[in-house]
């Protein structure tokens, strides 16, 4: 069965083929407005990738050790001390296969859903721009093909990331998915963005994309430094070799380990396990010195630095404190994008990366604690913000950040299996919720059109609508249960799964995280438990506001169920959300996922089921849902009625304004940075350097000096005979000014200053 591994490059090739087809032929494949060819091509490419992922799964069943499949040599330079060899080799092991299955499986379903969703979305955008006939068709061709090209590009890039066998290739995938995210967030870059009151505030979706890009660059900066540090310390970037050498350096000096490769260490596998047992409970003192430039820090310090820098990368991509601010804005992208990239797959890259680096994290307990606390804090903060949002997608966005926080906390505490388990189940139910919200938005837009006729457009406020129409505002929904039954039921399943109600998928995975937390860190456990309580509350609030009560607008009254191409993926995902817990069912010591991951995650440990933790979280979730029923379900909101949470006053405002996090960043980073740029450009380079240093200090001093010299001359001591120097300089500069603008003088003076500075340094160096 090993030969089967060699077909794994196809998993990446397929989506990239889809990109090429849609880029070059996508538009020609759409003769009519209702053509779906680009979507079908993209979906079948995704489906093909899923097929390969399944084949890899079976291959791994036969041979759990996995394989590394070389594709090509990317960089191969150097000799002697300096060698850099970066092959593009695909790593198939149990960890990457879980990621492949989730990415391609959920990805395929979302691709299929998008076939239907993007039709409606593009038609809506074309109508709002007043495009008709041939123009509208042309618009649709471009956008439809472009969307699926980007979508496939993302899928391929994500697979590059998860199949990488070294840090640099992983970074390539990391950047590529970031690029796709940027492109897709800004997909409607030419649409005006509205504020919460529905007014156009003139900001383009592209600014959301740019925010995501810039914030992620901050994280990437950390990641790059980590990669450099890894190469510097361990002399390689391939995962297995890095880990092998790091383990080796615990016992042996650095130089001895630098030539080691993972293959050579393989026979010692059992010894390694023994070392692990030995290390259990007692902190290993990692005192081997590592030569780094002028410093020689100990191995422990180096590994802690590497892991903290990797964590910075993870906080960027996985939207954790302090870099989570981009994700809510990223909801500007079309809903399938939010579901696939910003909920199910790309944002989990950070968790995957930390899990992949588990050997390093195991060596740096401090970093692990930092990771866990950041995860727990993020889970808590984001869940509390989600309570006070009105935009249906924003609630889900903060919920995503919060759930990512759960996963990060889990991997930080060493619960790699729990983290990956939650990653998988979360992919199911969060994709379901996003796609469900997309279905709701789709239905609302449909209803809005129906209510206001086809021809006229909705920018004008209409009768009873106090607020301009916003298909994502939950206050304008209500009672959709009657109009969209399928969506309602799958949404409720997703919400219950997220809230952690047994026996749905979310319960099992969240419980495992809480269990790990309760064993390792009380602080994190409390944060996560409170976050879980909030989670159940805001999901209850959302379900009651959207689907129950009476319709609050005309659009809601005329909402329609979405077509089957959208609802069928929803039903499949709902099914997965119900039974997803089976993949790591703790009952009877089964833990299939745990046994599976143990093959590739060295530090994985299987947690047992704890009835107390499970009971506490279930009871809290039920209480939260009950509370939301009291506030929103028993007496539903009427038209124009304010949210009952308003009565909490400043607390609500604080949460609604997201803890003023954006304002804080604007005050700390953005504005000072802009001011610094202006200051350096204007004040330093121009005013200080040109005007002050040149004109004032140098020129004036020179002339003043000349004046002092010329005074005795004027007094008649020398008279006209030698008033040369000053006059010469003055007349030269004057004639130069006459020739040109006069700045040449300044430029020459700058050169002169440089000369003086250099010579002064040399003089100090050699003559003193």
């Amino acid at each position: 069965m090993d030969g089967l591994f060699s077909i794994v490059p196809l998993i990446i090739l397929a989506p990239f083929t889809g990109v090429l087809i849609n880029v070059f032929f996508g538009r020609k494949l759409m003769p009519r407005r209702d053509s779906v060819a680009p979507g079908v091509i993209a979906s079948s490419m995704a489906g093909f990738s899923f097929l390969i992922a399944v084949l890899m799964f079976f291959a791994l069943l036969a041979n759990p050790a996995g394989a590394e499949v070389p594709v090509l040599t990317w960089i191969n330079v150097g000799d002697g001390d300096f060698t850099l060899h970066i092959p593009w080799t695909l790593k198939v092991d149990t960890l990457s296969s879980v990621m492949m299955l989730v990415v391609t499986g959920v990805g395929t379903l979302i691709h299929i859903y998008a076939i239907g969703y993007m039709h409606g979305d593009i038609d809506e955008k074309a109508a709002s721009r007043g495009l008709e006939g041939e123009e509208a068709l042309d618009f649709k061709r471009r956008r439809y093909a472009r969307f699926f090209a980007f979508f496939n590009l993302f899928l391929g890039s994500m697979l590059v990331l998860v199949t990488a066998n070294n840090y640099l290739m992983m970074f390539v995938g990391w950047e590529l998915v970031g690029l796709c995210s940027y492109l897709l967030i800004g997909f409607w870059f030419d649409s005006p963005e509205k504020n919460e009151a529905g007014q156009i505030i003139g900001v383009l979706n592209s600014s959301a994309g740019r925010k995501a890009f810039v914030v992620n660059r901050v994280g990437d900066f950390g990641m790059l430094l980590a990669i450099m540090l890894i190469f510097w310390s361990f002399g390689t970037l391939e995962f297995d070799d890095v880990f092998a050498r790091a383990e080796c350096m615990i016992e042996a000096p650095q130089a001895e380990c630098l030539t080691l490769s993972a293959a050579e260490l393989a026979p010692q596998g059992e010894g390694e396990a023994a070392a692990e047992e030995h290390g259990e409970g007692e902190a290993r003192a990692l005192t081997t010195p590592i030569a780094l430039g002028p410093f020689a820090p100990t191995l422990g310090v180096v590994v802690t630095a590497i892991t903290l820098l990797l964590l910075l990368g993870a906080t960027g991509k996985s939207a954790q404190i302090p870099l989570f601010v981009w994700l809510p804005d990223a909801m500007a992208g079309p809903t399938p994008v939010s579901a696939l990239i910003h909920a199910a797959t790309m944002v989990t890259a950070g968790i995957y990366m930390i899990t992949r680096s588990n050997v390093l994290y195991a060596m740096a307990p401090v970093s692990g604690m930092v990771v866990a606390v950041i995860g727990g804090a993020t889970a808590f903060v984001a869940a509390s913000i989600a309570v006070a949002q009105f935009d249906i997608k924003r609630v889900l966005a903060y919920s995503t950040i919060s759930q990512l926080g759960f996963m990060i906390a889990a991997v930080g505490l060493g619960g790699y299996i729990a983290g990956i388990f939650h990653l998988a189940t979360h992919a199911f139910f969060k994709a379901l919720l996003f796609l469900g919200s997309g279905s709701v938005i789709h239905g609302m837009e449909h209803g809005h059109h129906h209510a206001h006729g086809q021809g006229e457009h909705h920018d004008a406020p209409h009768g009873e609508d106090e607020r301009p129409f916003d298909p994502q505002d939950m206050r304008q929904m209500g009672g959709l249960r009657k109009h969209m039954p399928v969506t309602t039921w799958v949404y409720i399943i997703g919400a219950l799964a997220l809230a952690g109600i047994p026996p749905l998928a979310g319960f099992w995975s969240k419980d495992e995280i809480l269990l790990d937390a309760s064993l390792n860190s009380t602080l994190v456990y409390i944060l996560l438990t409170v976050a879980a309580f909030f989670t159940a509350f805001y999901m209850g609030r959302q379900v009651f506001m959207v689907f129950y009560g009476s319709e609050r607008t005309e659009a809601a009254r005329h909402a329609q169920e979405s077509p089957p191409v959208m609802t069928i993926p929803l039903i499949v995902l709902a099914g997965l959300s119900v039974v997803g817990g089976l993949i790591n069912l703790p009952v009877g010591g089964l833990h299939p996922l745990g046994r599976w991951l143990e093959e590739s995650v060295a530090n994985a440990h299987i947690a047992s089921f704890n009835i107390l933790v499970a009971t506490i979280s279930t009871v809290l979730a039920l209480v939260a849902i009950g509370l939301s029923y009291l506030l929103y379900g028993r007496k539903p909101l009427e038209e124009g009625e304010a949210d009952p949470l308003y009565s909490t006053g400043p607390v609500f405002t604080f949460l609604n304004r997201k803890w003023y996090w954006d304002e804080l960043y604007a005050a700390i980073f953005v504005r000072p940075y802009n001011r610094l740029g202006d200051f350096l450009a204007n004040a330093v380079d121009w005013q200080f350097w040109h005007d002050f240093v040149h004109d004032r200090i140098i020129a004036d001093a020179f002339q003043g000096w000349a004046a002092i010299l010329s005074r005795p001359i004027d007094l008649g001591i020398v008279d006209g005979a030698v008033n040369g120097v000053a006059q010469l300089v003055e007349s030269t500069s004057r004639s130069l000014r006459r020739v040109q603008t006069g700045y040449v003088r300044n430029y020459a003076l700058a050169v002169l200053m440089g000369v003086v500075a250099i010579l002064a340094y040399l003089a100090i160096r050699f003559l003193v």
Binding site: D190, S206, P294, Y747, V751
Partner: protein
């Protein structure tokens, strides 16, 4: 005294330069008999000369791979891997410089045959610079490189800003040359010879060294003269004015060629003649590199004119190469640092020429159209142009998949190796990484303009320009994704002592 002989010239080894210089002289005469409507003939004849020189260079490279470095013109020049690699870069840049100008000059009504002959002259100066092994030859090459560029900057005469650019460049260039000659004279006074290999002997103590202090002051002044050529802070102030005023193809060529020429001399002079005083000039160059990167990148942020922005960007890139120069003072890092520097110069050459090709495509006949706003909506009107420009901007920033990323990576790699035991270089490296992050801010403004702002981006891509664009874009991309063969070539670009 040994009189020079014909054999000592080593005609074969210096053939690429001799062909080019000789052909430039001949072309000056031939051009006189080409009627004004047919000046493109001169261009193609100039290309012919570049081609011939390139063929000779190819033979020389093959010969080098078999027998190693040789000296020429007595010991005053040396043909080694370093010289050959950079000479290739110069020939490529000159070829692209001609392609850029082919349609630009008639469009702006300044088509004169002298453009092409002067380009050949300055290119031969650069090539001579790459092989100079004697301070006198360094000076000679520098002047041969500079004088035609002064004229070319004013080539759009009677446009005032072009004349202004030429005047400023000339005055300041002469000023800087003065320092260089003074430095050479002092070095000669201190070491008793102008041969680079002789200077090192004198300084290390093996030869007759009457006065090392004089030689070291001379070294400082040589640094000033060459620092001016590569536009390092604080000798950079001419750059924005001259780049903005000069005709765009000249700017493009100048930003690439003159800079690479300056670095060729800087690397060879300081690594061959002054290795013993590395701890001194290493500090100076490291500080200059830091200042250059900071100033170039920070000031570029506030520029709205793309030519001016690229001028500050070119200052900043000089800073990155200077990091490699500073790192090269450690003998164990030298091979890596030198190859990183020359590879960086190659990536910068193709990327920057490409970026300027796009500026030329956008520039209107009256010289306007090069503001950042003029790129708005270009993605809609000229999608391929927008893709190419995005690629160039990514490369200048150092984001994969582009040549610039690989170049930066290796420069920093060398710097990191050199920072073993040298906190200053470590600091400078960190500054370099930080400033390259800052640079994303202004480079990426252009893609944002092109893709996310509405506008009627107009561009005029004529055939020769199109070829130049395709070549540079392809090269930028290929150097980014399969850099290995070129890196191997750069790894052979080692400095050799004359003889």
């Amino acid at each position: 005294m040994n009189l020079p002989t014909l054999e000592s010239i080593n005609l074969a080894a210096s053939l690429p330069v001799l062909i080019l210089a000789g052909w430039a002289c001949l072309l000056t005469a031939i051009d006189l008999f080409i009627s004004p409507e047919r000046k493109h003939w001169t261009a193609w004849l100039a290309v012919l000369g570049l081609l011939a020189s390139g063929v000779a260079l190819g033979f020389e490279a093959v010969a080098y791979s078999q027998r190693g470095a040789v000296s020429a013109f007595g010991d005053m020049a040396v043909v080694d891997g370093f010289a050959l690699f950079l000479q290739g870069v110069f020939l490529l840049s000159a070829f692209l410089g001609i392609l850029l100008a082919l349609n630009y000059l008639p469009r702006h009504n300044i088509e004169r045959g002298e453009y092409y002959t002067l380009l050949l002259f300055t290119t031969s100066g650069m090539m001579l610079m790459a092989m100079a092994a004697d301070l006198i030859v360094v000076f000679l090459a520098l002047e041969l490189l500079s004088l035609p560029l002064y004229v070319l900057s004013g080539f759009a005469h009677p446009r005032l800003d072009s004349e202004e650019a030429a005047m400023k460049y000339f005055l300041l260039g002469a000023f800087a040359s003065g320092f260089l000659v003074y430095g050479i004279a002092l070095t000669y006074g201190g070491a008793g010879t102008t041969l680079l290999s002789g200077v090192v002997e004198a300084l290390v103590g093996g030869g007759p060294a009457p006065n090392p202090v004089l030689a070291i002051v001379g070294m400082g002044l040589i640094l000033v003269g060459l620092g001016f050529k590569v536009a390092a802070v604080p000798f950079h102030m001419w750059t924005p004015d001259v780049y903005q005023g000069a005709p765009t193809p000249v700017t493009a060529f100048m930003s690439v060629g003159a800079k690479a020429g300056g670095f060729a001399a800087l690397l060879r002079v300081f690594l061959i003649a002054f290795p013993a005083t590395g701890d001194t000039w290493g500090v100076v160059i490291a500080i200059i590199a830091a200042l250059t990167m900071i100033l170039g990148n920070v000031v570029a942020i506030s520029q709205s004119n793309v030519k001016r922005m690229l001028a500050y960007s070119s200052i900043a890139h000089a800073g990155y190469v200077l990091v490699a120069v500073a790192a090269a003072r450690y003998p164990e890092v030298e091979p890596l640092a030198v190859s990183a520097a020359v590879f960086y110069l190659l990536t910068y050459a193709v990327t920057n020429l490409g970026a300027f090709a796009i500026v030329i495509a956008l520039e209107r006949d009256d010289g306007t159209g090069v503001e950042v706003e003029d790129f708005a909506g270009l993605a809609k009107t000229r999608p391929w142009l927008a893709i190419a420009m995005t690629l160039f901007m990514l490369s200048l920033t150092g984001i994969p998949p582009s040549a610039g990323m690989v170049g930066k990576f290796f420069v920093f790699q060398a710097a990191v190796q050199a920072s073993v035991g040298d906190p200053l270089i470590l600091t400078v490296t960190i500054i370099g990484v930080l400033t390259s992050v800052i640079s994303a801010f202004y480079y990426l403004r252009i893609p944002v303009m092109m893709y996310f702002r509405d506008g009627e981006g107009q561009a005029n891509v004529q055939p020769a320009l199109g070829v130049a664009l395709a070549l540079t874009a392809l090269a930028t991309f290929l150097l980014g994704v399969v850099p290995a063969p070129f890196l191997q070539m750069a790894r052979h670009a080692l400095l050799t002592l004359a003889g």
